[in-house]
């Protein structure tokens, strides 16, 4: 594995807090499959680009914690769940389609100072 994905929950702590809205993201994986590794990498990249300092990524390996699957109604692997801000959004797949992820998470580019709370 080029980039190790921890099989335990991995938390990327926010690098800054400026009173802006916090993003809690959860990535469900099942073992270190290429798709899961890819998804994590893509997610990290997108978050750094759009949500620098305001996000948390929790990686849950269902092979280790199968009981957690039903809580977020996980069927597909990998699945990204946006827990905060509401409403809950789910994006499935290895997140190669960045545009879809951005649209799906309702992200606006960080270059704009003010984000609409849509």
């Amino acid at each position: 594995m080029a980039t190790p994905v921890r099989t335990k929950a991995v938390r990327l702590e926010p690098t800054s807090t400026d009173g802006e809205e916090r993003w809690n993201l959860r990535l469900y994986v099942a073992g270190e499959t290429p798709k899961c590794v890819q998804a994590f990498e893509h997610l990290k990249r997108i978050c750094e680009e759009h949500l620098q300092g305001r996000y948390t990524i929790e990686v849950i390996d269902l092979l280790k914690n199968p009981t957690l699957a039903s809580g977020d109604q996980i069927i597909a692997i990998p699945t990204l769940v946006r827990q905060l801000p509401p409403p809950v959004k789910k994006i499935i797949g290895d997140l190669t389609n960045t545009e879809r992820v951005v649209v799906g998470l309702n992200l606006t580019p960080i270059t704009k100072a003010k984000r609409t709370n849509k």
Binding site: Y28, A30, T33, K35, Q38, A39, H42, L62, L63, P66, T67, A69, S70, Q73, I74, I75, A76, I77, P78, T79, P87, V88, K89, K90, I91, I92, G93, D94, L95, T96, N97, T98, R100, V101, V103, G104
Partner: protein, 583 residues
């Protein structure tokens, strides 16, 4: 299982046959000759409300009863909804979950909150299934309805590949699976909307609901069963408070056991007509007749006799309510309420139009199986004519009668005939009947009277006489009928005839007595005459004998005289003595 059909028996007899596991669903295991293919998946397809979920739920619940824990994967209903819905069928899913015999996983897919961005697998689902299976040590799994995935996920190619992988995986786990699927549109070649039958190829069962004449009937059909023969017909089934029941009713064989045991009809004089002993047990009896001829009363007497023997009896009434039957029969001296209270008699009233014929059959089947009576009465079967065509009614009755015979049950059915067809039932069931009693109204001299006769009674000596059926508060009696100059005499005409005959008889007896007296007199006279004649004769005889004696004596004297005279002459010198002869 004695009721196995021939095809099923063959499949179980073949050595390399597929291993089956009983579904536990009443009747289904008989159709399939043992149940579902063990360790394989079975596809249950059907339209909305056809009973797929219930089939799946019962499969699991019965499995727990057979010591096989199960997993229910529900895509459509939440755990709470599912528990509630099948709770009405007597399945307590909460208890089974608490006992660790059942796991339910509600897999919810909301397409509006899911975005697809790149390749994925359904490992999440696999993980959940695996977890649930391991949690209870499942031997069975039900998936209801997998097709929801098609609505929730866009990438059909991935989906199909994953579903294929799912079924392969299920097979590897060795679980017996039931997978439900929405039926395909009418006219489509595919059985299911998403063509799931491509993945589940071991056993496919179709559920269907058909409405004819506003009466709905549920049907089940085994479309495919790889490696096993199976009944291919559509079997009616019922879903009620105890779950699913399928009637494997189309019996093609005539191999039911027969009984030589006889059971009383409850009417002693009718027993007498039937060789003195009544019906054969397990025979099928038809009582036909026009309205108000007492068919139900004959039926009720059989019910009464059955209960009096301490056996259970079940009456299906299609025209009267139980209370009404009970009251009416009280008027002819039958206390049915007591038997009901003692649990020996069950009266079930249903309107024929309440549901389709097949449903009636299934309902009766089920009720009989639950109560296990020795006698079953259907009163009257002619009312089924409103629920189907003659052919359908006959088909249903054939199956019912066959089944009753298989169960060793005596069946009595009544049939309301109209005055035109008389000895002919509209449904043409006469050939199925062992003993046929016809009750008929005869209108003579301004009154209607009931007559009863036996059209046939297979396998026993039976009376060919027409009897008059007399119904009173004491019960039913059958009396001989009179044949007068104008035919059969009944009722008051019969009473008049009886009196007339009695009068005639008395008169004849008087006449005979008189003649006998006359004869005696004559004999006395003649005897007196004989005595007189005898006396006369005796006197005459006496007289005659005396005369004969006298004559003989005088003759003797004369001869003596002549001899002495001849001697005298010889002494006088006549050598020839001729003179003596001439003198």
């Amino acid at each position: 299982m004695t009721g196995l059909t021939g095809e099923a028996a063959r499949s179980t007899g073949a050595p390399p046959s597929i291993e089956k596991t009983p579904s536990g669903i009443s009747g289904f295991d008989q159709i399939t000759g043992g149940g579902l293919p063990k360790g394989r998946a079975t596809l249950i397809c059907g339209g909305p409300g056809s009973g797929k979920t219930i089939f799946a739920a019962e499969f699991l619940v019965r499995g727990t009863e057979l010591g096989e824990p199960g997993v229910f994967v529900t895509f459509e209903e939440s755990v709470l909804d599912l528990t509630r819905n099948v709770g009405g069928l007597g399945f307590d899913l909460n208890r089974l979950r608490a006992e660790g015999k059942l796991a339910i996983d509600y897999v919810h897919l909301d397409p509006s909150e899911i975005e697809e961005a790149g390749g994925y697998s359904l490992d999440g689902l696999f993980v959940r299934l695996k977890h649930a299976i391991e949690a209870v040590g499942a031997k069975r799994i039900a998936i209801d309805t997998l097709e929801v995935l098609f609505g929730g996920l866009k990438d059909q190619a991935v989906l199909r590949a994953e579903i294929q992988r799912l079924f392969r995986w299920l097979k590897e786990t060795g679980l017996t699976a039931v997978v439900t699927a929405e039926a395909g549109e009418a006219g489509e070649l595919r059985l299911t909307r998403q063509g799931l039958e491509e993945y589940v190829s071991d056993c496919v069962v179709q559920l269907r609901q058909s409405v004819s004449d506003q009466a709905a009937t549920r049907y089940l059909r085994v479309i495919k069963y790889r490696g096993s023969s199976h009944g291919t017909n559509e079997y009616p089934f019922l879903i009620d408070e105890t779950g699913f029941s399928v009637v494997p009713a189309t019996s093609l064989q005539l191999d039911y056991p027969v009984s030589l045991e006889r059971v009383s009809t409850g009417i002693p004089s009718l027993d007498n007509m039937l060789g003195g002993e009544g019906f054969f047990r397990t025979s099928t009896i038809l009582v036909s007749g026009s309205a108000g001829t007492g068919k139900s009363i004959i039926a009720a007497n059989l019910a009464n006799a059955t209960c009096a023997r301490g056996e259970r009896c079940m009456v299906f009434a299609f025209e009267e309510s139980p209370a009404q039957i009970e009251r009416n029969m009280r008027s002819v001296g039958l206390d049915l309420a007591t038997w009901q209270a003692r649990g020996l008699l069950q009266l079930r009233a249903t309107r024929p139009s309440f549901y389709g014929l097949e449903m009636h059959l299934v309902a009766m089947h089920k009720a009989i199986a639950a109560f296990s009576p020795r006698t079953v009465i259907l009163d009257p079967i002619s009312s089924f004519m409103s629920a189907g065509t003659a052919h359908q009614v006959k088909a249903m009755l054939v199956r019912l009668f066959d089944w009753l015979k298989m169960q060793g049950v005596t069946g009595l059915v009544t049939y309301l005939t109209n005055s035109v067809t008389r000895e002919e039932t509209d449904v043409g069931i006469s050939s199925l009947i062992d003993t046929w009693i016809e009750v008929r109204d005869l209108e003579v001299a301004g009154e209607r009277n009931r007559t009863l006769y036996l059209l046939k009674s297979r396998g026993m000596r039976h009376s060919n006489q027409v009897r008059e059926m007399l119904i009173s508060e004491k019960g039913v009696t059958l009396a001989d009928v009179y044949f007068g100059h104008d035919g059969v005499l009944l009722g008051s005409a019969k009473a008049a005839e009886e009196r007339k005959r009695a009068r005639d008889e008395r008169r004849a007896e008087d006449e005979i007595a008189r003649k006998e007296r006359l004869l005696e007199l004559k004999r006395d006279i003649i005897e007196a005459q004989i005595a007189a004649l005898r006396a006369q004769y005796a006197a005459e005889e006496d007289e005659t004998r005396r005369i004969i004696q006298d004559t003989r004596r005088s003759h003797e004297a004369q001869r003596t005289d002549r001899q002495s005279m001849a001697q005298v002459r010889t002494e006088l010198g006549s050598p020839l003595g001729n003179g003596a002869g001439r003198s």
